[in-house]
Assembly symmetry: C2
């Protein structure tokens, strides 16, 4: 299966370069590129075929910037993963992007390997691993770590599997862990998320975009 990517950047040269990089990964394909947010919203609204799995989004753009666009995507297409692209490590704007709903950020001079890894992380685990870094960043700046919960390493993968028809034993097999460890994950999540049973966990996962039906 291949995943579709949209690159949004006003610098044609840069978006072409990033697009070429993306196309060189066999799991990913560039659907199209946009020069600003308005172009993206028009594309999205024109046809459901234009809605990609991932958006790589520049922050500074004319007409409709990355923050506004990310907010628009978060409300209108909540299952699209937005990854911010920033030139320099401008903490304030990155923070705004994360608050707007971006799931991670990359520097534009990122090496191929890192970009590929990031994209795989996103489609496979639903989060880019730097979301932890992200949270630290958020915590250090705003005090509280957003409203989202810090999950333990494999708990996200477990949650996704718990949304399938697999039994816990089968999940344990699939994750190469003892059923008892899975028991532990479940118990921990139940108390953490204040849910009573697996249905509660499934609903949490869906509402928080950990699992997409």
């Amino acid at each position: 299966m291949t995943y579709s990517v949209v690159v949004v950047d006003d610098h044609t040269l840069l978006s072409q370069a990033i697009g070429a990089m993306v196309n060189s990964f066999d799991k990913f394909k560039v659907l199209y590129t946009c020069k600003n947010g308005r172009e993206l919203t028009e594309k999205f609204s024109a046809s459901p075929k234009n809605i990609p799995d991932i958006v790589l989004m520049d922050i500074n753009m004319p007409i409709m910037n990355g923050i506004e666009t990310t907010e628009w995507i978060a409300t209108n297409h909540p299952f699209v993963n937005v990854m911010a692209l920033s030139v320099e490590d401008a903490e304030k704007t990155i923070l705004q992007m994360l608050k707007a709903g971006a799931i991670g950020y990359l520097l534009k001079d990122t090496e191929k390997k890192v970009l590929e890894h990031a994209l795989i992380e996103v489609v496979e685990n639903g989060f880019y691993h730097t979301k932890n870094v992200t949270n630290i960043l958020l915590k250090s700046m705003t005090g509280k770590s957003q409203n989202d919960i810090q999950f333990r390493d494999k708990e996200i993968i477990f949650m996704k599997l718990a949304c399938s028809e697999l039994t816990y034993k089968e999940i344990a097999d699939k994750m190469n862990l003892s059923p008892k460890t899975i028991d532990g994950y479940r118990d921990h999540l139940f108390s953490l998320l204040e849910v009573k049973n697996r249905v509660g966990l499934v609903m949490y996962a869906i509402k928080n975009r950990i699992y997409t039906p």
Copy 2:
């Protein structure tokens, strides 16, 4: 709780009349009216606050007709319930509307009582009761009865409750039925929907808009 309704019709007089009718029901309120589909897509895209629970949609409209608009809603906002409004009983177009994703249809000269009943059905049971009539219509025309399944009376209510954290015993209490009856509903649905367990049932309910997370 009140539900929001959007009326889409190019005949201002008619949409005003229907709107006034809707506003006279204490459970429903008109959010705004549109003269064609394009107006609706713009409103929807402008703000999540513009997204109603129900859309009452005319079929023949200039610029973007009811069928296209219903398709757009079905893909972009799958949890919005579209009810078709038709002047005469034009079977071909009604069929197209149903295929596009409308959950029922009403004649424009519908009496107040019928309209109110239809709206309540939609928000309470997720389907307008004529969906059965609808299915018969589809069967008689296309041969097969769509791809959706005919549920027994209380099974839809049961399915919704199965999407909560309630145990089956608690569901039985809530529905004033014996736990054994609930057992029967579950068993019947499991084999009907080809799912293995409650998580499968929950996913079916979500994917088929029986339960909205």
